[in-house]
Symmetry: C2
Subunit: 140 residues, 2 copies
DNA sequence: CTGTATCCTTAGGGATACTG
DNA sequence: CAGTATCCCTAAGGATACAG
């Protein structure tokens, strides 16, 4: 526990994983972003049944990372309100792409659905371009 | 260990988390997708220093989920080759959005960088639209 | 209702030795 | 080199009780 943000590397994918790479954090962000939830009890009520200690821990981490901000409900001073900071709102495109991917591959059958098949060749070509760029960058 | 894919809910975000919601899986996908790595030793050599047991476990899971496919290197029959299936290649947009997000928020300073600021209002409006849609859907 | 705290079990994962 | 296997410790997390 010496270092809360260990930083295994400076890769952007790794940075994201160290920010929200666990089984719970993105569910809280989903609730804030898509379901307009904003209180501790709201998050507890979600289908995945997060436990109180995990929820408290993740909310604290999200606050420390500047993704979530905690404020007092002015109409009910005992109640806290959690909301997304701009940094948290910027996760929207990631959330949308995740939703698209999961929608294509159904949890039960694992079968690909057709609605994205038309872009398959473009996607493949883009991966090849990126890899070619990476290899030539390493040679230099 | 009765159930390898426990399925806490049928939310698409949750499906993604149960597919690759851990600290290591996305790094393997990154190596396959962007760095053209394809062998066990290639993955072991990455900066984040994944350990052998974790790597073997994640490769097996990725295979079971149909994200990665394992085949024999025909020029060197003792060598296995890992590559992305179409389902794995479909993770590209997610990976790109993650890279953009991490690029905007530097791991060291946490400071937002300016190059995406112009879309901030659009993003905020989109979140509001989605939440409004969610709330009206629940009322029905 | 909003959290904290505690207890306890399991899963994650590092280190290292070992096998084909 | 491509994995397996084992040892062992720490982190994750479920259940539940408790406090403001």
């Amino acid at each position: 526990m010496l270092d809360k943000f260990p930083c295994r590397s400076h890769c952007p994918i790794n940075y994201a994983l160290e920010s929200f790479g666990d089984k719970w954090t993105l569910l809280i962000i989903r609730d804030l972003m898509f379901k307009a939830k904003q209180s501790y009890g709201d998050f507890l009520a979600s289908n995945e049944k997060i436990s109180t200690n995990i929820l408290a821990d993740r909310l604290k981490r999200l606050e420390e990372m500047g993704i979530v901000i905690k404020s007092v409900n002015e109409t009910n001073r005992t109640k806290m309100i959690y909301s997304l900071t701009p940094k948290g709102q910027d996760l929207l495109p990631i959330m949308l792409e995740i939703t698209k991917w999961s929608g294509k591959y159904d949890a039960q059958t694992n079968a690909p659905k057709p609605f994205l098949d038309s872009i398959e060749n473009d996607r493949l070509r883009l991966i090849e371009d990126i890899q070619a760029g990476w290899k030539s960058a390493k040679k230099q």
